[in-house]
């Protein structure tokens, strides 16, 4: 009797916390969709038709669903990257650069390793190598910023952005030079195709959705486990909430900062790696642009919770995927999606606005990242 009552109240508590956590994001999305509709109307389009196209294009058929999952895969990884950094009190705007570095690294392993060795590798060795190398490079790229933050106080926001430009320049250099696809018809900056043994197989025949998608869901669970069930996760969260308290509790704050950044970079590198090994089979210049900001939006929308990130990644993937259909039906440019996403982010970040519009009382902690500039 007593325990039944307890479990009842526990269920209610969980339900309550889920609805509390998802209410504001949901209303933010709703508000952004309304604002987007007004904009469509203002530029002379039909909002209903546009949104219908968006939904048809993203969920209307098996193929559309598969494509949404394909889009969602890198979003989940990149969103987790930013979310994990948020948990550790760090703002990683550098997912874009880490993703590019990871993609370049794993395409290098993918196409060049068999050439160097002189014989073909089996998939069980080649594919994991390509993925691990890409992930590691993403992690190393980000941990530079982590180390600068830990030892010199150089602020990670500016440093990750600088690393984005350094990554973009370096990949341009490589993809126009030593790593350029030398096939006679090629004029763009891209790598050669990776070997078959470095490719992630599709889940179903005839659809593009590949096992990388399942891996993404698995990694999301793993991150949840890491953050909530391990000592390291506890340390990361403690440093994120209060570095001073963490220091007095005996946590090596510098080490945790570097480690958080490295893990975050590894996740972002994974996004690039999976796109190369699972979808494009090569890295092409410019492919990574925009992912960094999308990842931030996804992490904020998902409230930095792995499950929230997965859901937010799906929403963004559906919008990107459905945009083509929307453009076909209403001649609204695909860029409209970026704007609706910006509004979603605006209303999620400024949840005070949403609370004000819908008269909801404030609850829970507020994200605090601005602790002044280092230097």
């Amino acid at each position: 009797m007593q325990s039944e009552k307890q479990s009842n109240s526990l269920t209610r508590q969980i339900l309550q916390s889920v609805s509390d956590a998802s209410l504001v994001p949901f209303l933010a999305i709703l508000t952004a969709v309304v604002v987007g509709g007004v904009i469509i109307k203002l530029v002379g389009g039909d909002p209903i038709l546009a949104y219908r196209g968006l939904i048809q294009g993203s969920f209307g058929s098996t193929k559309a669903l598969s494509e949404t999952a394909v889009w969602a895969t890198p979003y989940i990884f990149a969103g987790l990257a930013v979310a994990l950094a948020f948990k550790g009190g760090l703002f990683n705007i550098g997912a874009e650069g880490q993703l590019a570095v990871g993609a370049v690294a794993s395409s290098l392993v993918g196409y060049a390793l068999p050439e160097w060795l002189g014989y073909d590798l089996p998939i069980v060795i080649h594919l994991p190598l390509a993925i691990i190398f890409g992930v590691l490079m993403g992690g190393i790229w980000a941990s530079i910023v982590g180390a600068l933050k830990a030892y010199t106080g150089g602020h990670e926001v500016i440093n990750t952005i600088m690393m984005n430009y350094i990554a973009l320049n370096t990949t341009s250099f490589l993809l126009n030079g030593v790593m350029k696809d030398r096939s006679p018809t090629n004029v763009i900056a891209r790598t050669p195709l990776i070997a078959d043994s470095a490719r992630i197989p599709p889940i179903f025949d005839g659809l593009r959705v590949h096992w990388g998608f399942v891996l993404a869901l698995l990694v999301a669970f793993l991150i949840w486990w890491l953050l909530n069930k391990t000592t390291l996760g506890f340390q990361i969260r403690t440093v994120g909430l209060n570095p001073d308290a963490a220091k007095y509790a005996g946590i090596n704050v510098k080490r945790i900062i570097i480690l958080t950044m490295a893990l975050s970079g590894m996740l972002a590198g994974m996004a690039g790696t999976i796109e190369v090994t699972g979808l494009n089979y090569r890295h092409e210049l410019g492919f990574s642009i925009g992912y960094g900001y999308d990842a931030i939006a996804i992490a904020l929308l998902g409230k930095s919770h792995p499950l929230g990130v997965v859901l937010a990644a799906f929403l963004f993937a559906a919008m990107r995927n459905g945009a083509t259909r929307m453009q076909f039906l209403t001649q609204m440019p695909v860029d409209l999606i970026s704007m609706i996403q910006a509004f979603i982010l605006l209303f999620v970040a400024a949840d005070a606005i949403v609370r004000y519009i819908y008269r909801i009382k404030a609850k829970g902690e507020r994200v605090v990242l601005t602790r002044g500039w280092g230097g």
């Binding site: 002379g44 150089g154 500016i158 600088m162 984005n164 370096t170 440019p333 605006l346």
Partner: protein
């Protein structure tokens, strides 16, 4: 700003200029190279200087603004768009269209800053997230409108991007005319004089930016307004106690900062080149934040730091000019992607604080709760 810092800035600029002179001297006399490089440095440092000033005003009042990049991008777009509309749709003259374009850019900057102020001061959103929202919104908004207004159904321009009415003219400062008598009959003297004159012949926003540096310095450190601004950024509680309206001071300073960022945006599409392309600001909003930090939140220091970044960009431009005379052992200088890394690496290096620690305003980034 201490002398160590200015020394570092001077050192970097000398190294960058020295590299170009050493490589280019087989093609052009050093005086010509140095003056042309100086002219380029001052011109390309303009948006960085203005961006850094924008940061100085916001952060001296206690509001962190990483949305400068987005403010610049939006203003660059709307300034350019305004000039095009005035010229093509309303049939105004070239001069008026361009001037109004600059005005629109400043207005856009102010409006974006208003959004930042509402988010960070009224709603007390984390200021770094607020700035990121501005940056993302800027990319979405300019990308969407850039396509929709020109290629969308019912566009007044019918599916093509019309020519912009043009760019602001260079203002000639008549040094050559004044000092020519001193040269007498010497041709070399006249050549040098012309070259030196070229450094001072800048476009209006570039000249305006330098004047604004000193004006801002005066405002911040010698007026009641400046004292109050610094008070709300250092100790808002104390400022509030003596009757200063903290929220109002912060709002106004963020708006001023937005106008600076707007003028920086106008530099890109109205002063530098008469066209817009998505993402054209290319991280310069963030680099100007680094300049502000290195300049220790002072206008003159921030300007000096902006010049370093300007010089590193001038290096890139000159390496393309002297591409064919670069000696083989220095061939990496031919790679624009590698030389192009200079400003980014410099930024990260400066932020390490090796050249001396900087101190932000004490209440920078902290929302004020009464």
């Amino acid at each position: 700003m201490d002398w160590k810092r200015f020394g570092f800035i001077a050192l970097i600029i000398i190294v960058l200029f020295g590299t170009v002179v050493m490589i280019g001297q087989v093609k052009q006399p050093p005086v010509l190279i140095i003056t042309s490089m100086l002219a380029t440095t001052i011109a390309v440092a303009t948006p960085l200087t203005l961006g850094a000033l924008s940061g100085v005003f916001c952060e001296r009042a206690g509001v962190v603004n990483i949305g400068i990049e987005g403010m610049m991008l939006t203003s660059a777009f709307f300034g350019w768009l305004g000039a095009i509309y005035m010229f093509h749709v309303f049939g105004m003259g070239i001069g008026i269209s361009i001037t109004l374009g600059v005005f629109f850019a400043i207005l856009t900057g102010a409006l974006m800053a208003l959004l930042h102020a509402v988010l960070s001061i009224t709603f007390k959103v984390d200021q770094i997230i607020g700035g990121t929202v501005i940056n993302i919104l800027a990319v979405g908004l300019t990308g969407f409108l850039n396509r929709q207004l020109f290629f969308g159904a019912g566009s007044v321009f019918g599916g093509s991007v019309p020519n912009s009415p043009g760019v602001l003219p260079t203002i000639h400062i008549p040094l050559r005319e004044i000092f020519t008598p001193l040269c007498g009959t010497s041709t070399a003297c006249l050549v040098n004089l012309t070259a030196i004159n070229r450094v001072f012949d800048q476009k209006p926003i570039a000249i305006g930016a330098i004047l604004l540096v000193f004006f801002s310095h005066y405002i911040l450190f010698n007026t009641r307004w400046g004292l109050r601004t610094r008070a709300v950024g250092e100790h808002p509680k104390a400022a509030d106690t003596v009757g200063i309206n903290v929220a109002q001071m912060r709002y106004l300073n963020v708006l001023i900062g937005g106008m600076f960022a707007g003028l920086a945006g106008a530099y890109f599409t109205i002063e530098s080149v008469p066209s817009f392309e998505p993402l054209l600001t290319n991280g310069r909003g963030f680099i100007s934040l680094a300049a502000m930090i290195f300049g220790n939140w002072t206008p003159i220091g921030a300007w000096a730091a902006s010049l370093v970044f300007g010089a590193s960009q001038a290096l890139l431009i000159n390496m393309q000019i002297f591409r064919d005379v670069i000696p083989p052992q220095w061939s990496f200088l031919q790679e624009s992607y590698i030389v192009g890394l200079t400003p980014y690496i410099l930024t990260m290096f400066i932020l390490t604080g090796i050249i001396g620690k900087t101190t932000p305003p004490a209440a920078d980034g902290v929302p004020y709760e009464k």
